[in-house]
């Protein structure tokens, strides 16, 4: 802000008035969940009076690293980002640290050995989500005498949510040897993928009792395949999903789904809190979990009218 007053909306310029500048690099806009996440962050930033430098990485780690470098150049106050993948952040995080810019991870973790590279992590526990789904199933089927055949629609291969949800679910259902995953295949987190995979599951496995989908969208796609096969979703096949986006909640309320473990994208307010604290140099917990719950059909009916996304 020295003599160069007509330079536009540069982040550096606004520092004079004490407004906090947050550089945020989002994974992309690959799903409705992600968009809700982005919107929540944008709204909360506005509410909290934080200036947001938003960048969309379009699902590419390279882009995120570039964005973080540029944030450093712009001398933002805090950097936050949802890492596309777990590994490979050390170099750029070191640069941020050298520039004395604190970093907050959102939604997904990184595997850096050096924990001092970031201040804190805020997001969901994917393993827990999988476990909650599994535990509910174990509870439901505890009286089942014969084998219960489960098919699993995985998320994008290798992605953290897919790996963790699969892991958590498997851990939970290990409690009952009757519960058996007979087929597990990636549906890429999309409805079309979910539908196409489910179609083949249905043809290959004459008896499917339970469907566990790693997100609502795949579950919704699978619904169509199940209906087309002449089965009744929610009755002939028990459907468990994760996320609780609006369409999923609707299906749950309609009795087509049986259970959803929530994975909330609405972490904007919590994030802005953290940003302020970090900026002020306050101590923050190393890990903040988003407030999440689970829904059964009845709970869904009750919650639906007030759902934000």
């Amino acid at each position: 802000a020295c003599g160069n007053s007509d330079t536009g909306s540069d982040a550096g310029d606004s520092k004079g008035d004490g407004q906090i500048v947050l550089g945020f690099s989002q994974v992309g806009a690959e799903s409705g969940w992600r968009t809700a996440n982005t919107n929540s962050i944008k709204e909360s930033a506005e509410k909290a009076g934080i200036k947001l430098q938003f960048d969309d990485a379009q699902q590419k780690q390279e882009n995120q690293i570039k964005a973080i470098r540029n944030f450093i150049q712009q001398k933002v106050d805090v950097i936050a980002f949802s890492p596309v993948v777990e590994s490979g952040w050390d170099t750029v995080l070191k640069e941020a640290k050298d520039a004395k810019i604190p970093v907050i991870l959102t939604d997904r973790a990184v595997d850096s050995a050096d924990k001092s590279l970031y201040k804190t992590f805020i997001g969901s526990d994917f393993v827990k989500e999988g476990r909650l789904a599994g535990e509910w199933l174990v509870e439901q089927k505890k009286s089942a005498s014969g084998p219960v055949n489960i098919v699993e629609l995985q998320g994008t291969t290798g992605s953290a949510p897919a790996n963790d949800r699969k892991k958590g679910f498997a851990e939970a259902i290990a409690a009952n040897p009757n519960l058996k995953v007979v087929a597990s295949q990636s549906g890429d987190f999309t409805r079309a993928g979910g539908k196409q995979v489910m179609e083949q599951f249905l043809k290959a496995n004459p008896k499917i009792d339970v469907l566990f989908a790693h997100n609502d969208d795949m579950g919704l796609g699978a619904l169509e395949a199940i209906t087309a096969a002449g089965k009744v979703p929610g009755k002939d096949i028990t459907i468990i999903t994760i996320d609780a986006v609006k369409d999923g909640m609707q299906a749950l309320a309609d009795g087509k789904f049986n259970f959803i473990a929530e994975c909330s994208p609405l972490l904007g307010d919590q994030l802005m809190d953290l940003v302020k604290k970090v900026k002020a140099g306050e101590e923050v917990p190393a890990r903040v979990e988003t407030q999440e719950t689970t829904f059964t059909q009845e709970q869904a009916k009750a919650a639906l009218p007030t759902r934000k996304y």
Binding site: T157, R191, K203
Partner: protein, 356 residues
Amino acid sequence: MSTARTRLAGVTGHRLFWPLVVLVVLLAANTVYRPSFLSVELKNGHLYGSLIDILRLSAPLILVALGMSLVIATGGIDLSVGSVAAVCGAIACLYISEQPDQNSLGGVLTAVAIAFGIALLLGAWNGILVAGIGIQPIIATLILMVAGRGLAQLVTSGQIITINSEPYKTIGVGHLLTLPFAIIIALAVTLVVALLTRRTALGMIIEAVGGNAEASRLAGVRSRRITFLVYVVSAACAAVAGFMMTANVSSADGNAVGLWVELDAILAVVIGGTSLIGGRFYLSGTIVGALIIQTLTTSVYAMNIDPQTALLFKAVVVIAVCLIQAPAFRARFRRRQAPGVPPAAPVEKQKEQVPA
């Protein structure tokens, strides 16, 4: 016996022979894995079974690949088809979702018409860039490939628009005469394109432009107009494919609809025997190519192949199809035999040789 052999040679020499063999092999492999793969039953008056799924799911790819064939025939390429499909699907779904009665046929038709109109505009945009401004097709369409995805998400505001419209759903999962409606649309469009190109002179003119644009121009062909036209047709085909993809799941996901379909379409076209250099194109080959690719995808799901191996599997099949089709490859593995040549005419005059 020799006629039988020549007839056999005629069959194996046919352009479609090897692609069809590959298709059959793929189906056979599936049947070995799961004998019920080929079974088709009648459920609620619809045919039901993996084969039917393949047909239904290949419909959008067939459409996109048809348009792509024409573009490739002119020596171009259209990378934007996936994005165009996404934009059009999104617009149609958005319009329908805003209707008070989503099941009204009029509303759905209007939605489809609006989206189709947009597709024509997008195609015209590509056409102008390529034919009018002279930008290399791969870059010209790359622009819309990138920006189109953004447009689709802009339309859906980054959300998935879910609709509940029976008429629209019909496009993707409906049935007509027990067959999936989608495949009937694809066949109808194929028929129209085939008639337009092969019953009129359009096909030949497209091939002339692709073979040698300057020579065609000097022969009085309006090369630019033809080039422009194929991009519009390609976008139109992509739009219909977009309707099918979104109708299939009754929702529009600006990010996922038609993702990477351009690669599959190009693959289908090339497997079908059309050269990327331009010139001759073969619609029937394209359709077989599309069926091969969809069968491959379905096989991966049906045989529960994990996604890691799936890509390796695809690589192997693609190379195999292209190798056995390549004359150079076959020549190496065929024992030398006298090619069928008209017998030499009787020598008219004795050779004269004058000593050196």
